[in-house]
């Protein structure tokens, strides 16, 4: 099995070729590049979750972190955004190909907004995990020039089946490699256009579908002799797009007695993202195994979440504020609250 995983990692590292072209949309973040979030912690951390080892009851975004794991757990989780009503309604309109409904809903709002929700079920067995996300919604919109509105909308409804695994190497202690095999089924609208062009020709607002199988490799290297347990990480994501390359460095400060883990992260290849916005600092503080605080800060982007576990019940609440760009001349902020609930066994 481990040989197979290694072979997959090797293959996936070589398949970082662009096979799927997206329309240029500069006014909002590219929602296709979002981390494959399962919980509010993943959303708060953003790309930082590739560099930070996941806490208890969470699954690592970078599969290499799964190496050495000795927990077996089943978790069912659902999280919603404060705009859940809007989000579900938009998701239904997307399913019904109701372009006019979506546009009419969006047009009167002279605001930028981003929202997400997901329901997931996964099983972790030591160094590997398998999971299913029946529904994940990602939404971002922005409007510029209220007199002749330029509208940017990215709305993705997807389901995902994934397998993640991480293995180590006897010859090089500290090195771990992992792979995230993902099968995605997506329906989406992702475009930026003038409102009057859409009124004139509603067929411009086309919903599209795609099925994607992607192989995303990850690497971590732990400096075992250092008391701060520094870890370097590398993940290649979304090979079907311009591949995202995520690098980071995390450490566990000695003075915090292992409760605090911090990470500095950089997204090497994030199309359309300002270079300063590719840096991110993330941290987790575990009060004990039942309560954890996670925070993440990037340029124009910050958030925090608090998660707790009471017996089999897991609960969480999060706040996130993110800056949405309009061709990097003018930015508008979108803030939201998220709530989650789940069961772990």
């Amino acid at each position: 099995m481990k040989t197979l995983v290694r072979a997959l990692i090797l293959i996936s590292a070589c398949v970082g070729v662009k096979v799927f072209a997206l329309e240029p949309v500069s006014a909002i973040p590219n929602m296709f590049y979002q981390v494959p979030f399962l919980s509010i912690e993943d959303v708060v951390l953003g790309e930082g979750c590739y560099s930070l080892k996941a806490g208890a009851h969470h699954l690592d975004c970078n599969p290499a972190f799964l190496h050495g794991n000795q927990h077996r757990e089943v978790r069912a989780n659902i999280f919603i955004d404060k705009r859940v009503g809007d989000l579900v309604d938009s998701g239904e309109k997307l399913s019904d190909d109701d372009y006019a409904g979506l546009i009419n809903k969006l047009a009167p709002r002279h605001e930028a907004s981003a929202a997400r929700l997901a329901g997931s079920l996964w099983y972790r067995h030591d160094w590997w995990a398998i999971g299913y996300v029946p529904l994940r919604l990602k939404y971002a919109s922005n409007i510029q020039n209220p007199a002749y509105p330029q509208m940017a909308l990215s709305l993705i409804r997807e389901s995902e089946l994934f397998l993640r695994a991480g293995v180590g190497f006897e010859d090089i202690p500290g090195l771990a490699a992992g792979v995230n095999l993902r099968y995605l089924s997506q329906k989406y609208i992702h475009q930026q256009t003038a409102l009057f062009d859409l009124i004139s020709d509603p067929s411009l607002a086309r919903t599209r579908s795609r099925e994607v199988f992607s192989v995303e490799p990850g690497l971590t290297y732990t400096f075992a002799n250092d008391t701060w347990k520094p870890v370097m990480s590398l993940t290649v994501t979304h090979p079907e797009l311009n591949p995202g390359v995520e690098v980071g460095f995390s450490s566990t400060p000695e003075f915090a007695h292992g409760r605090l883990v911090t990470a500095t992260h950089y997204s090497v290849n994030a199309p359309g993202v300002h270079p300063f916005k590719r840096f991110r600092w993330s941290g987790r503080y575990d009060f004990d195994n039942h309560l954890a605080l996670v925070a993440s800060v990037g340029k124009g982007d910050y958030g925090a979440s608090l998660s707790t576990a009471i017996d089999s019940l897991t609960l969480g609440v999060a706040y996130k504020n993110e800056e949405l760009d309009y061709a990097r001349l003018h930015s508008k902020s979108s803030e939201t609250y998220m709530f989650e609930g789940g069961l772990t066994f």
Partner: protein, 286 residues
């Protein structure tokens, strides 16, 4: 073996990194982005300067033209939240109201015809009946007046006129920009209704038919122009055909009205006696 594997793996990752690094190029903000930004900030003059400069370089630049027009419209306070539904509704549902007219509007004129004495009175009733029918036809537009943003000040009016003029300079206007011009014309139409299309002065129940005829003709041309923008701007053929058919019918009705008025005035009648219309309702002329 394992060392070879690792070397290959690290090499592949390095290759992936190098390949990927070149692909995250930044998009340079364009002059259009900058102009939209100025409008967003309320700095309309800078947006206009920028887009005029763009149009000097390329007069065919429709995007620059539309943004320039929108800068004028924004300075007049015309924002999309006020009229997006109207534009959508008009494109979606513009159609004749002949049935409604037959059920209600025509009844009044049938009664008046029964009371008419002499051919002169009958001609006048026929003429006003046609005019009334034309008004019924555009009742959809009239009903939606509440949605059309109102401009009060002369400066605002001049800005909307300037916006329409900017768009008129492009003779190949089509699609969204043409629908936009239709909406701007609707705004002007509403202003004209309040300030220009007042019913001619009535004294002793006499109305100046030549003046009325001229205003009906002007009204006709303005409505026709804006409906043409909605039909021409709609790239959905079904919608476009629907609006075109409606415009054609409206054209016929107005043409009939003006022809009858002309015939009436050509017969030597300069004034029309409206007492016939008002007396059944117990209204006396001023």
């Amino acid at each position: 073996m394992k060392k070879d594997f690792l070397k290959t793996l690290l090499g592949a990752c390095a290759l992936a990194l190098l390949t990927a690094c070149g692909q995250g190029t930044e998009r340079t903000p364009s002059a259009y982005d900058q102009a939209n930004e100025y409008i967003e900030e309320g700095n309309f003059e800078s947006a206009m300067v920028l887009m005029r400069d763009q149009l000097r370089k390329n007069p065919q630049d429709q995007k620059a033209r539309v943004i320039l027009a929108s800068a004028h419209a924004a300075r007049a306070g015309l924002y999309v939240t006020s009229y997006v539904d109207l534009a959508q509704d008009l494109v979606d549902s513009a159609q004749g109201k002949e049935d409604a007219y037959k059920q209600r509007g025509r009844v009044v004129f049938e009664r008046l015809r029964a009371r008419a004495q002499g051919q002169g009175e009958k001609n006048l009733i026929d003429t006003l009946d046609d005019f009334n029918q034309a008004l019924w036809s555009i009742s959809d537009v009239m009903i939606k007046f509440e949605k059309i943003p109102e401009i009060e000040k002369d400066g605002q009016y001049q800005d909307v006129v300037a916006a329409v003029r900017v768009l008129n300079e492009d003779h190949g206007l089509y699609g969204g920009p043409q629908v936009y011009r239709g909406v701007l014309r609707l705004v002007l139409f509403r202003y004209h209704l309040r300030h220009y299309y007042k019913f001619p002065e009535i004294k002793d129940c006499q109305v100046n038919l030549a003046e009325l005829s001229q205003k009906v003709e002007s009204f006709h041309q303005e409505v026709k122009g804006l409906l043409n923008d909605f039909s021409g701007g709609s790239l959905m053929s079904a919608q476009s055909e629907k609006i075109k058919a409606f415009t054609l019918k409206l054209d016929e009705t107005f043409s009939r009205t003006t022809a009858k008025m002309k015939k009436y005035t050509d017969s030597g009648e300069e004034q029309g006696d409206l007492s016939l219309l008002l007396s059944p309702f117990g209204v006396s002329c001023p």
